[in-house]
C-alpha cells in the first residue's frame, strides 16, 4: 500500500494569496494512500526541506508530492532532499500550483479547487512511480576525428593534450587541408603555412594521436561511449615503416606532367608524389591511375617502369600493396571533413545546382577561383608567389574579382552566404597590390559582410589604402576578346552598365561540403541539410553536437566557416568530448524507453519514429539457438526519452520510464474520473 506524503507550499504570499493552502492539505489528506499532508510557508527553504525529510523518515513515505512552483524551478531541489533520506528521487514529483494556478487566477475558491485537483493528479501518478536509477554506460576514452584540416588538427590536439587518445583519419595523403594551400590569412596577413605546419608536426609527433592518412571511414557501429569504427587504409604503394622521405623516388619518376591537386591544377606533380613539401607524414603515395607500371598492369601488360623502386635505397616501394581495413574502438567522434569549392561548370554534382553559362561554364582561360589565386600568391606555389596568369604566364595588370559566385544565387541552387569570400577577396586584392604595384584591382560585390574582429577594418583598408575599386553589382557576362577578358557588369550605385577589360578574373565561388559527406553522415546517423552540411543539435545552444549522442561537428562541414570559427568550434567539440571522457561511466537520466520483449510483435514502428536510432533488433532464440522471434530493444545510451515510440507502438510493448501509461491514465482519471 502506497504511503504518500503531500507538502503544500505557500511560497510566502505567492501561492497563499489566491490558494487556500491549508484547505488543499486537508483535502489531500483524505485521498486514499496519502498518509501525511501539511502546508508550509516556504517548502524550498531549509526548514521546509527538513519538514519533508523528517516526514519521509518518520512516516516511512513511499512517495512525495510537493505542491508548489514549477518542476522546472525546484524538482531537482526536492528530489535531492528526499534522496538524502534514502527515498529514490524519482518517487518525488511536483504539482505546479503557482505558475499554473495561483499566479493566473484570482477567484480563491476556484484556484483552491484547481490546486487540489493538480495535487491529487500528481498523487495518483506518484502512486504508480517506481524507483529509477540513472542509466550508466561505460565510456571508451578514445576519440575519432574525421578530417585532418585545421578543425580536425585543433580538435585532435586539444583532446590529446587533455589526456585522451585520438585517432585522426584523413582521406588525402597528408593532413593540413585547405589551410595548407592558403598563402596568407585574413585579417592579419600572416603566412598560413607558418602557423599551420608546426601544428601538423605536433599532431604527427603526439604520443596520444594515431594518424591515419590516405584513409577513409568505412563503417560505424555502436553508440555514445562505445563506437566501433572500421577504417580503410588505402594502398599507398609505400612501406611507411621503411620510407624516410628522402624524395629520391619522386626525382626518379618519369611522369612529371600530372596536374597537381594541391596546386589546383596550376602546378605539376609526378605519379609518385607528396602533395606538398611540408606534407605530414612526409611519405609519398603512388597515384595508380597515372603510374606507368600500374597502367601497364591494368592492361595486363608487364611492369613497364620501376624507376622509383630502383631509386629507393630502402626498398620501401611496394607496388603490390593492398588496401587494409583497421577497426578502432572509440567513445566519441568528431566530424571535421571541411569544404570544397563550387565549380561554375556545366556538369554539376547535384541536379538543383546550375553552372554559369554567362561566364562560359569555366571554359575561359585565366578565369580562376579563389583557391587557385591562393596558390598563385603562395611563395610555395607553382609561380613561387608571382602573380602570373595561367594561359601565358604574363603578369596580369588588371584583375577583376567577382564575389558571390554561386552563393546567395538561388537561380544557381545555393541560397546561403559562403561567409569567407568577402574577407579573402579583400585579402587577395591586397596581396595582388603588394606584388603588382601598378596593377588595377576591381571587385564586384553584392554586400560586404565583414563581421568579425578586425574584419571591417581589413576590408576598409583594402578599399581606402590599397586602392581596390569596389563596384556594387553583378557581372552579367564574361567573354574572351583577344588577349583580354571582357567583364560586362552593372554598377547598381551609379545605375550604369560597365565593361572592364581584365587580364585575369578571380571567382569567389561558393563553399560546399565535401563530396561523400551524405554517405558519411548516414554511416554516423547524423542529419544533414539538402546541401550536405551537417545539422547541429541546436543552432544556438548545442552548436557542436549532432542529434546522435557522442558525435560532434567542427568546421566547414557544418556551414561555411573561416579559420578562427573552425578552430573555435574544434576546441568546443574537443571540450565536449573531454567532458564526456571525464567519467568512467556515462550517467544518463533514467527516463528512457524499455521494451516488454514478451509481447513485442517486432513491427518496428518504434524504430521508424525514433529520432536517435536507439532501437535495435534483438533476436530471441530457443534452446537450440534457432531464432524464434525478433523484437525491439532500446539502447539506453542513445535514447533521449521523448516517448514517441510508446505512442506509436500498437501493442503498447514499449514504455517510457517516468511517463508510463499507467501514470498518465492515473492523472487523467484523477481529474475527471
Amino acid at each position: 500500500m502506497a504511503r504518500i506524503g503531500v507538502f503544500v507550499c505557500h511560497c510566502g504570499e505567492n501561492i497563499g494569496r489566491t490558494v487556500d493552502c491549508h484547505a488543499v492539505a486537508e483535502a489531500l489528506a483524505q485521498v486514499p494512500g496519502v498518509v501525511h499532508a501539511v502546508d508550509y510557508k516556504y517548502m524550498c527553504s531549509d526548514p521546509g526541506q527538513q519538514l519533508i525529510k523528517a516526514a519521509v523518515a518518520e512516516k516511512g513515505l513511499t512517495g512525495v508530492v510537493v505542491a508548489a512552483c514549477s518542476p522546472h524551478m525546484h524538482e531537482k531541489t526536492f528530489r535531492r532532499a528526499v534522496q538524502s533520506v534514502g527515498l529514490n528521487p524519482f518517487l518525488c514529483e511536483m504539482a505546479n500550483i503557482r505558475e499554473h494556478c495561483s499566479w493566473i487566477h484570482e477567484d480563491r475558491a476556484k484556484a483552491t479547487e484547481k490546486a487540489i485537483d493538480l495535487a491529487r493528479m500528481m498523487v495518483e501518478k506518484v502512486k504508480r512511480n517506481v524507483a529509477l536509477s540513472t542509466v550508466r554506460i561505460p565510456v571508451t576514452r578514445r576519440a575519432l576525428v574525421i578530417g585532418g584540416g585545421i578543425a580536425g588538427i585543433q580538435a585532435a590536439l586539444d583532446i590529446a593534450d587533455g589526456g585522451a587518445e585520438v585517432v585522426l583519419v584523413e582521406k588525402e595523403p597528408s593532413i593540413g587541408g585547405h589551410m595548407s594551400q592558403l598563402s596568407e590569412t585574413f585579417p592579419t596577413l600572416d603566412c598560413s603555412q607558418c602557423i599551420l605546419t608546426p601544428r601538423m608536426v605536433e599532431v604527427y609527433q603526439h604520443p596520444r594521436i594515431k594518424l591515419l592518412t590516405y584513409s577513409e571511414v568505412e563503417a560505424v557501429e555502436g553508440y555514445i561511449g562505445n563506437f566501433r569504427v572500421t577504417i580503410r587504409k588505402k594502398a599507398r604503394g609505400i612501406d611507411e615503416s621503411k620510407c624516410n622521405g628522402c624524395g629520391a623516388c619522386i626525382k626518379a619518376c618519369p611522369n612529371k606532367r600530372i596536374p597537381s591537386e594541391f596546386d589546383c591544377g596550376l602546378g605539376k606533380r609526378t605519379a609518385i608524389y607528396v602533395p606538398f613539401p611540408q606534407a605530414v607524414p612526409n611519405i609519398p603515395v603512388i597515384d595508380r591511375q597515372r603510374c606507368t607500371l600500374h597502367i601497364a598492369r591494368s592492361k595486363g601488360k608487364k611492369d613497364a617502369c620501376m624507376k622509383c623502386s630502383e631509386a629507393c635505397q630502402r626498398g620501401a616501394i611496394d607496388f603490390n600493396q593492398q588496401d587494409t581495413l583497421v577497426t578502432e574502438e572509440v567513445g566519441a567522434i568528431i566530424v571535421a571533413t571541411g569544404y570544397q569549392l563550387y565549380s561554375i561548370g556545366r556538369d554539376q554534382p547535384k541536379e538543383y545546382l546550375k553552372g554559369y553559362g554567362e561566364y562560359g561554364y569555366g571554359t575561359i582561360p585565366d578565369v580562376i577561383d579563389g583557391l587557385q589565386f591562393e596558390r598563385l600568391a603562395s611563395a610555395s606555389g607553382p609561380t613561387a608567389g608571382k602573380i602570373l596568369r595561367p594561359s601565358d604566364n604574363k603578369e596580369p595588370k588588371t584583375v577583376v574579382f567577382l564575389q558571390c559566385i554561386g552563393s546567395r544565387d538561388p537561380a544557381k541552387g545555393i541560397e546561403y552566404c559562403s561567409k569567407i569570400c568577402c574577407m579573402y577577396v579583400a585579402k587577395h586584392a591586397m596581396l595582388y597590390r603588394h606584388k603588382v604595384h601598378d596593377g588595377r584591382v576591381v571587385v564586384f560585390y553584392m554586400d560586404i559582410r565583414a563581421a568579425g574582429k578586425g574584419y571591417d577594418e581589413f576590408t576598409r583598408r583594402a578599399i581606402e589604402e590599397e586602392g581596390a575599386e569596389y563596384i556594387r553589382g553583378r557581372v552579367t557576362r564574361l567573354y574572351r576578346d583577344g588577349d583580354v577578358i571582357k567583364v560586362q557588369g552593372f554598377d547598381t550605385l551609379s545605375g550604369s552598365p560597365i565593361t572592364i577589360d581584365a587580364d585575369m578574373v578571380v571567382l569567389a565561388t561558393a563553399v560546399r561540403p565535401q563530396p561523400g559527406i551524405d554517405a558519411l553522415a548516414q554511416k554516423l546517423s547524423v542529419s544533414y541539410d539538402r546541401h550536405g552540411f551537417i545539422v547541429e543539435a541546436h543552432p544556438k545552444l548545442r552548436p557542436v553536437e549532432t542529434n546522435t549522442a557522442g558525435v560532434y561537428v567542427a568546421g566547414a562541414c557544418q556551414a561555411p566557416r573561416d579559420i578562427p570559427d573552425s578552430v573555435a568550434m574544434a576546441s568546443a567539440a574537443a571540450s565536449k568530448v573531454l567532458g564526456l571522457f571525464s567519467h568512467e561511466m556515462l550517467e544518463r537520466e533514467p527516463t528512457v524507453a524499455r521494451v516488454d520483449e514478451s509481447v513485442c510483435a517486432g513491427c518496428f514502428h518504434c524504430e521508424r519514429v525514433c529520432p536517435y536510432g536507439a532501437i535495435r533488433h534483438k533476436e530471441i532464440k530457443d534452446k537450440t539457438g534457432k531464432v524464434i522471434r525478433v523484437v525491439a530493444e532500446v539502447n539506453p545510451g542513445v535514447c533521449q526519452g521523448c516517448g514517441t515510440c510508446q505512442a506509436t507502438c500498437p501493442s503498447k510493448s514499449i514504455e517510457l520510464q517516468g511517463f508510463t501509461d499507467a501514470q498518465i491514465f492515473a492523472q487523467i482519471n484523477a481529474f475527471v474520473g
Binding site: R346, Y356, G357, R477
Partner: protein, 287 residues
C-alpha cells in the same frame, strides 16, 4: 506533326515574311498548322506593363480556345507571343489565385493542358526530317544565330534551351548545311522594347550586336523574333556600319535549304538586301 498555330498580330503584319516562310516550309517538313479560330491579341507588350491578371488572361483565352479546338501543342512563332503564352501557362499552373482570377475572367473551361512552342524548338524537333529534305545545302554560308531575350528567358518559363549558352538554332542551321559562327552577343537584348522611345540606345545595342556578328565572320544573322528582326534590319542604316548585314528568319533560311523559291519566303521584304544569302541557283528577283 500537327500543331495549333497562333499567328498573333506580327505574323500578319510587320513580319509577314515570317509567316510566309513558315507556311512555305511546313509542307515539305510534314508540319500541319491549324490556325486557332477566333484568336485574339496576346497582350504583349503593353498588357503586362499595366495589369497582371489581364496579361495572363489574354493569352489564356487563346490557349483555352486551342483546347476547345483539340490542340495539345500550339506554335507561336512570334517570340513575344510565345513568351506571353508560355508565361500564362506557367502562371496559371504555379499560382492558384491567379488561376482562379483568370478562369473567372475567361468564363470558359480552361484546363491549362496546351504546350506552347516557339518556331526554333519546333524546327529543332524536325531536324531529322529537315536533313533528309535539304535540296540546296547552304554550304559555306556563315551564320550568326541570334536568340535575343524573349525566346529564352525566364528559363523556368521557356526552358527549351540553356538561356546562357543555347544551341538549338545552331542545330537547325547545321542541318541546313550552313556553318554557325561562335559569337558573344547571341542572347543579348536588342532593345526592341524601346525602339520607339529611345532610338539612340536601340541603335547602340543593335550596332554592338551586328558588329560582333561581323567580327566573327558571319554572312548573315538569323533570328526568330519579329522585334529583333525589325530592330536589326530596319534600324541598320542608322547604325553606321562598314557594310550591310542581312538579317533573316530561321524559317527563311530553312526554306532556302529546302530549295524553295526565295519569293515564296518573302526574302524581298527586308530593308537590308538578302541577296548574299540566297544561293546562286535560287530565284533572281531579290534586290
Amino acid at each position: 506533326m500537327k500543331l495549333g498555330y497562333y499567328p498573333g498580330c506580327s505574323m500578319h503584319g510587320t513580319s509577314r515574311e515570317h509567316e510566309e516562310s513558315l507556311l512555305a516550309i511546313a509542307k515539305p517538313l510534314g508540319l500541319e498548322l491549324a490556325e486557332i479560330e477566333d484568336w485574339s491579341c496576346c497582350g504583349a507588350s503593353s498588357a503586362h506593363a499595366c495589369n497582371r491578371t489581364l496579361a495572363v488572361a489574354l493569352p489564356a483565352r487563346n490557349l483555352a480556345l486551342a483546347e476547345e479546338q483539340g490542340h495539345d501543342r500550339v506554335i507561336a512563332p512570334c517570340a513575344a507571343c510565345y513568351n506571353r503564352l508560355a508565361m500564362a501557362t506557367h502562371e496559371v499552373a504555379s499560382d492558384p489565385q491567379m488561376a482562379g482570377r483568370v478562369r473567372a475572367v475567361l468564363s470558359r473551361p480552361f484546363a491549362n493542358r496546351v504546350k506552347v512552342l516557339n518556331a526554333v524548338e519546333v524546327l529543332r524537333e524536325l531536324v531529322p526530317t529537315l536533313k533528309t529534305n535539304v535540296k540546296r545545302p547552304l554550304t559555306g554560308l556563315k551564320v550568326a544565330c541570334y536568340y535575343g531575350c524573349l525566346l529564352l528567358r525566364p528559363a523556368e518559363v521557356t526552358g527549351f534551351d540553356d538561356p546562357e549558352d543555347p544551341s538549338s538554332m545552331e542545330e537547325v542551321v547545321r542541318a541546313c548545311g550552313a556553318e554557325p559562327v561562335s559569337w558573344r552577343m547571341r542572347v543579348e537584348c536588342c532593345g526592341a522594347g524601346l525602339t520607339m522611345a529611345r532610338k539612340p540606345s536601340v541603335v547602340r545595342l543593335g550596332r554592338a550586336i551586328i558588329s560582333d556578328a561581323m567580327a566573327s565572320g558571319a554572312d548573315v544573322i538569323v533570328v526568330s523574333c519579329p522585334m529583333c528582326h525589325s530592330n536589326l534590319d530596319f534600324r541598320q542604316q542608322a547604325m553606321g556600319l562598314s557594310r550591310p548585314m542581312p538579317v533573316v528568319y530561321l524559317t527563311q533560311l530553312v526554306g532556302l535549304a529546302l530549295g524553295l523559291d526565295s519569293s515564296a519566303l518573302g526574302l524581298a521584304r527586308h530593308f537590308v538586301s538578302t541577296g548574299g544569302v540566297v544561293p546562286r541557283n535560287a530565284a533572281q528577283e531579290v534586290g
